[in-house]
Amino acid sequence: MIRPIATTREMTGMPTGRLAVWWLIASEIVIFGGVLGSYLMHRIGHKEWAAASAHTNTWAGAFNTLVLLTSSLSAVLAHNAALRKDGKRAAKLLWFTILGGGIFLVVKSIEWTGEIKAGYTITANNFWSFYYTAAGLHGLHVIAGMIVMMFVAADAAKGKELQRVENAGLYWHFVDLVWIFLFPLLYIAK
């Protein structure tokens, strides 16, 4: 049997792929932490931002939180199925997670269309600059997660590379985590 080097480094005590995902998440903490931290400081320091933030749609944000939490559930259930070596169920649940990501993006685009039509563009003022940057960066991560999960689900359906289901899930949970903090910052604190 061929044992590739990438999966046999036991010095770290865990599969290399999963360690790589944790490193990715660690780097993302600094990226999103920087954006959210900067936003928080500006929001506290500038009372006039409250007027701008009053125009975000709380219900759209809440619905998207529900969607992402549900997609996180399906991602962890996919991981559970992979642990049981049930590749077909893991694949189905990953597709359900991808569907969640798709719904999230559709809601976001409807929301953004309304806001842009009302004149709240990325150049309207610094609140909207932060809003589109933070939510847009998060949206790109949602798209990246969906693409990765498509490949992982295709393999999982054939019973191959099931260890990747957990790795994709870890990344997706982090995307969910970022939204958990973006939601109150951008939609609730008005």
Partner: protein
């Protein structure tokens, strides 16, 4: 050939990761709790603004129901969905290091954002900025609209 083509489905058993797997019902229960917290995080601030007349009390309610619950939700996701509790300890240390770096960044640039003057420096534009129709001092020039927003 794939880099993991012949790897086992999971090598986690070597350090007990699999041993902490829960039944599906456990994760559904956690999801249910997260949804209840989502409802509270939306309803709390809404009710606080409508019912509570005292601004300080309303602010505290918003702080706890929106941001306090966000922290609890995040903890539940990390603990139960990402299984940080059964992960190698150094993973936690890596993540905490990143959070510390983030806190250092916030601490470092905070004075420039939150204050408008300090020892041997002053942000005159920020000090001079006033909200339209207001004579009070609310922020700095960074918040000044420079587009065509219909506020």
């Amino acid at each position: 050939m794939s880099d993991t083509a012949h790897a086992p489905a999971s090598t986690d058993a070597a350090h007990g990761h699999d041993a902490h797997a829960h039944p599906d019902s456990f994760y559904i229960r956690i999801w249910g709790i997260l949804l209840v917290m989502l409802v509270v995080s939306v309803a709390g601030p809404e009710l606080a603004h409508r019912i509570v007349s005292n601004e300080t009390v309303a602010f505290v309610i918003v702080l706890f129901t929106a941001f306090g619950i966000a922290i609890v939700k995040a903890y539940m996701v990390v603990k139960n969905f990402m299984h940080i509790g059964v992960e190698k300890k150094y993973v936690g240390y890596i993540l905490i290091t990143m959070l510390v770096l983030m806190a250092l960044m916030i601490g470092g640039v905070g004075p420039d954002v939150l204050r408008h003057e300090g020892h041997r420096w002053v942000n005159q534009a920020a000090k001079d900025y006033k909200l339209p129709g207001d004579t009070g001092h609310h922020g700095d020039a960074y918040g000044e609209p420079h587009g065509d927003a219909k506020h």
